[in-house]
Subunit: 337 residues, 2 copies
DNA sequence: TAATTTTGAGTTATCGGTAACACAATTAAT
DNA sequence: ATTAATTGTGTTACCGATAACTCAAAATTA
């Protein structure tokens, strides 16, 4: 491993002089600067960022924690966050909690021990409170992404879960559906609660009764509660449409339906939150409330960087980004038998 | 920032004793161990991993560099790599080069200055040679993923690009297509070269002529060469099917076709490499050669960890993982007019 | 020409840990 | 009871960088 001392020796100067050349600080004569530069290149010198961070107490690394790396919604966020971080010269440390509290904890520990300068944090749910409080305790700036956590005051970038849900359900109502099931994430997650609210609001605004037996709570990351679906389908008055609270749930639900020999949308309509951008470009199918994922990432990152770089702590900001209703093939007007 | 010295002082011991408690090394009486532990908890102590890495000359961080974070093929790789790294207790630093040489360079610099213990490297192309050589020069172990780089001897995990391509094209030939276009990645990328070879092989094995005017080279990440597509379609004897060399190219091609009012598969068939797992589960459409992405990641990571941990340098290994031909709606038997 | 300022370095201490060695107090062995 | 071994803990040096201070030589000013 080449260090500044190796460079210093070979160039016949002190380590401090090498450091000054690297950082363009202090006064250095053009002659020594050139000589040091040449030796650095000859020896393929790369500064040790850990040593530097240790003394500077700054890593110039930001962390992005997402909850599902195979979900295009989150990877698009990642792209946006990365682009924004790069623009400001920060390096980015990705983490993927897989909607798992324990993995999230591992990543928080890693973040803390790495002493990153800030975190863009998509929480797994309300219990992430503990992790965010840990960040606060250690004075690590963060911005909360996609899901609000009660008890945490911070900058936050959110979607319009309630309105988006209402729009989706009203679309279904508008094309004749009356029995609409909700397959939702855990009530421990703010977006799931709001989407539930939007679902109810759409019903009451349209004078429809709400049947709680049509509402199921599972995990956002995947749907595999076959018995719950079975119960829905065996219902004396079964749903004619399903609102899956996110794209991954829609995947699971449609898969399960197909295994039971049911076709979407012929036998049952399905709508959900979040788009599958690439795939839908190929073959538009799902009716969705599409959220501006890239903006989630880039705006969130901007807020984070502002917070890090603005000395006087400014007040918290809350951005709510609207979703767009995209009506496609998976929702079909109800044909009364 | 709490350090071992703070702990040491409050517990009335030396810093070294604290270090021993943290690492479970050396001999410590049960009494002091307890006392130190208690103070650590009271002060919410988190070890500074940079200080530790600096003295140990080991970071216990591995890096995964992928070329497109919004491509489900790569995110599935990431999931596999992450799981494998976690099993061995390594932390994972993701990087995303976006198929861009300059970004790849940035990440390599970051990898070098972070002194990670090893890299799982999906190169952007043959010119990545320079970056891999830099890793070699600095003795950073790495495993090459998905694309081979001429001039580099290393462990490598690949797909069966040639055979996969041949199977896809033979499928098209089998259902009557004779004029098959190839929309390929840059010839600077090994998989693109091999898929090209497979394409040619399928033709020659089946006694079909090859028309080079049906072959286009673009960038794997997205297709936006409208004029090239235009030329294809204006061809006196236009293609009846298109083989897009990866999933992202298929997206771009199908979008462009639709803008021109052409339907897949009615007007033209499209097949490609790499699946869109979630989306295809919802609505099977694309005929693909599906690669075992998760295995790419987990096996690659296993090779990397073995290489790092096995003292005597063992010989290089080359894993070639077969792809699976999944015939779906986007390829249709040719109906002669 | 003497006094002052500027320039171009070098020295030392420090960031937060750990390895290697040292050493007093017990405990065990002879 | 003396010697040897073990146990528990402290000291010092170092990992690779940088901040703060120092200082001789050169340049500038009076």
């Amino acid at each position: 491993m080449i260090t500044i001392y190796d460079i210093a020796e070979k160039a016949g100067v002190s380590a401090m002089t090498v450091s000054r050349v690297i950082n363009n600080t202090g006064r250095i004569s053009e002659a020594t600067r050139k000589r040091v530069r040449k030796v650095m290149e000859e020896l393929h010198y790369i500064p040790n960022s850990m040593a530097r961070s240790l003394v500077l107490q700054k890593t110039h690394i930001l962390s992005l924690l997402i909850t599902d790396i195979t979900n295009p919604f989150y990877t698009t966020i990642a792209r946006g966050a990365e682009d924004a971080a790069k623009r400001s010269g920060f390096r980015l440390l990705f983490g993927n909690s897989d909607e798992d509290y324990a993995k999230e904890k591992d990543y928080v520990d890693m973040i803390l021990s790495t002493r990153v300068d800030g975190v863009l944090f998509a929480p797994t749910g309300d219990h992430s409170l503990e992790h965010l409080q840990q960040l606060q305790k250690h004075n690590i700036p963060f911005v909360v992404l996609d899901r609000e956590v009660p008890g945490i005051e911070a900058d936050v970038v959110l979607g319009d879960s309630k309105e988006g849900a209402r729009k989706l359900v009203e679309h279904l109502i508008g094309i004749g559906h009356r029995r609409i099931a909700l397959i939702n994430g855990s009530q421990d997650v703010s977006t799931a609660r709001l989407r539930h609210l939007g679902y109810r609001e759409a019903h009451t605004l349209n004078g429809l009764p709400i049947d709680d037996s049509l509402i199921i709570h599972v995990n956002y990351r995947d749907f595999h509660d076959e018995s719950a679906l079975e119960a829905l389908l065996q219902h004396p008055s079964p749903p004619t449409a399903i609102f899956a609270a996110n794209n991954m749930l829609a995947v699971g639900v449609i898969k399960s339906l197909r295994q039971r020999g049911l076709q979407v949308p012929q036998d049952i309509s399905v709508v959900c939150f979040d788009d599958f951008v690439h795939a839908e470009a190929i073959n538009p199918f799902l009716t969705v409330a599409a959220q501006p994922a890239y903006q989630f990432g880039s705006l969130g990152m901007q807020l984070l960087i502002e917070r890090i770089e603005s000395e006087p702590a400014r007040e918290n900001r809350k951005l709510i980004l609207p979703s767009e209703l995209l009506i496609r093939a998976s929702s079909q007007a109800l044909v009364r038998a």
